[in-house]
């Protein structure tokens, strides 16, 4: 046994954990930078329908979001229980869409304006009448590129 005891003098020192905070901080900064906080607080129910023929919307800064759906339970007392449109953080009327699109366009650089896409985030239980009205407004301001935002899944699941 003495043979083993002798070796003790040449034992490896414990690994220093002093650099552990550095590594963790590095990860922390990565996630802090990569995190995108939700732009809009949703005031409506927004359960998107499913589809599988989808395209990704890559350039986030070139997307304008229009939300629609029934006001969520917190707002149903003040906003009613009919489907409403939400632009930025407010409930809006159909007539407000034009002004919204023009304001979004004005905020972008001029050469990027033709690439702007409108993402329609519409709750699955909305009537097409409202969606049709939105589309009509978009056509009138020449915002013709639209994207019906969906979840990934089988389209058949939409019909219960």
């Amino acid at each position: 046994m003495s043979k083993f005891n002798k070796k003790k003098s040449g034992e490896l020192p414990a690994i220093s954990t002093a650099s552990l905070p550095d590594i963790v901080f590095m990860l922390l900064f990565f996630f802090m930078v990569a995190t995108v906080m939700r732009q809009n607080t949703l005031m409506i129910e927004n359960k998107l329908p499913q589809a599988d023929q989808i395209e990704k919307l890559d350039k986030k800064d070139l997307v304008m979001y229009i939300y629609a759906g029934k006001p969520s339970s917190r707002y149903s007392a003040s906003a009613g229980n009919q489907a409403r449109i939400q632009l930025n953080d407010k409930f809006a009327e159909v007539a407000d869409i034009k002004a919204f699109i023009l304001a979004e366009r004005a905020a972008k650089r001029e050469e990027l304006v033709p690439f702007l896409t409108t993402a329609l985030k519409v709750d699955g239980n909305t009537n097409m009448g409202l969606v049709g009205d939105i589309k009509k407004e978009l056509r009138e301001v020449q915002a013709l590129k639209i994207n019906y935002t969906t979840r990934t899944g089988e389209a058949v699941n939409n019909i219960e």
């Binding site: 954990t17 552990l20 905070p21 963790v24 901080f25 990860l27 922390l28 996630f31 802090m32 990569a34 995190t35 995108v36 906080m37 329908p49 499913q50 589809a51 599988d52 023929q53 989808i54 395209e55 990704k56 919307l57 890559d58 997307v63 896409t117 993402a119 329609l120 519409v122 709750d123 699955g124 239980n125 909305t126 009537n127 097409m128 009448g129 969606v131 049709g132 589309k135 978009l138 056509r139 009138e140 020449q142 915002a143 013709l144 590129k145 639209i146 994207n147 019906y148 935002t149 969906t150 990934t152 389209a155 058949v156 939409n158 019909i159």
Partner: protein, 202 residues
């Protein structure tokens, strides 16, 4: 002057604090990319424009009524059969002479569409149609076009249309992007997405 030097702060718990923050950001991060069905709306029309005359047989009428029932050419249909029916209509190629379709593999039924470049799918919905039903139908119709485009791309260029579009976006793609773009245009010309949406009825 018996100033004692301040004791050194123990930094051992710094890692714990950093971990705590890290876990918070890990949980709240949603690296989400929105995805959905991309469509292009028709430009606004002047009121006095005569609609172009189309042969009745070149129009495939898909209608959604207010009870979310699907009517294809005035006959009820299940959603799962819609893709097949749309493919059959687009790929029919019943035309003769100038309007003949060389690559179509359909039935060549003279009472259905002449040529994929002539065939129009007309989607009509009611104001009370549910949005998710509408999206399901849109999805199936887009899928019909994609299936046919994939087939022709596979035949002509040896890869599917979806792959070609993916390659076009890929920065590491080694081949020529100019010719790829041309190829994609060729396929799009063979099966143009002619999906017309009528104003919803009350």
């Amino acid at each position: 002057m018996a100033r004692r030097s301040a004791p050194e702060v123990n930094a051992g718990s710094m890692a714990d604090i950093a971990f705590l923050l890290l876990i918070f950001f890990l949980v709240t991060t949603t690296i989400e990319t929105d995805s959905g069905i991309s469509r292009k709306l028709p430009p606004p029309q002047e009121d006095n424009v005569e609609p172009p005359v189309l042969k009745q047989k070149n129009i495939f009428v898909v209608e959604l009524n207010k009870n979310n029932d699907l009517l294809v050419e005035e006959a009820p249909m299940e959603l799962k059969d819609l893709r097949e029916a749309a493919i059959k209509f687009l790929d029919n190629g019943g035309g003769t002479g100038d309007e003949a379709c060389k690559f179509c593999q359909g039935d060549r039924d003279p009472s259905s569409s002449d040529n994929p470049t002539k065939a129009v799918i007309s989607l009509r919905n009611n104001r009370e149609t549910n949005y998710q039903t509408y999206i399901a139908v849109q999805n199936e119709l887009v899928a019909a076009y994609t299936t046919l485009r994939n087939r022709e791309a596979q035949r002509l260029f040896g890869k599917t249309f979806v792959e070609m579009e993916k390659n076009l976006k890929d920065v590491n793609y080694t081949g020529s992007k100019v010719s790829l773009k041309e190829d994609i245009k060729t396929i799009q010309f063979m099966f143009p997405e002619k999906l017309s949406e009528a104003e919803p009825k009350k």
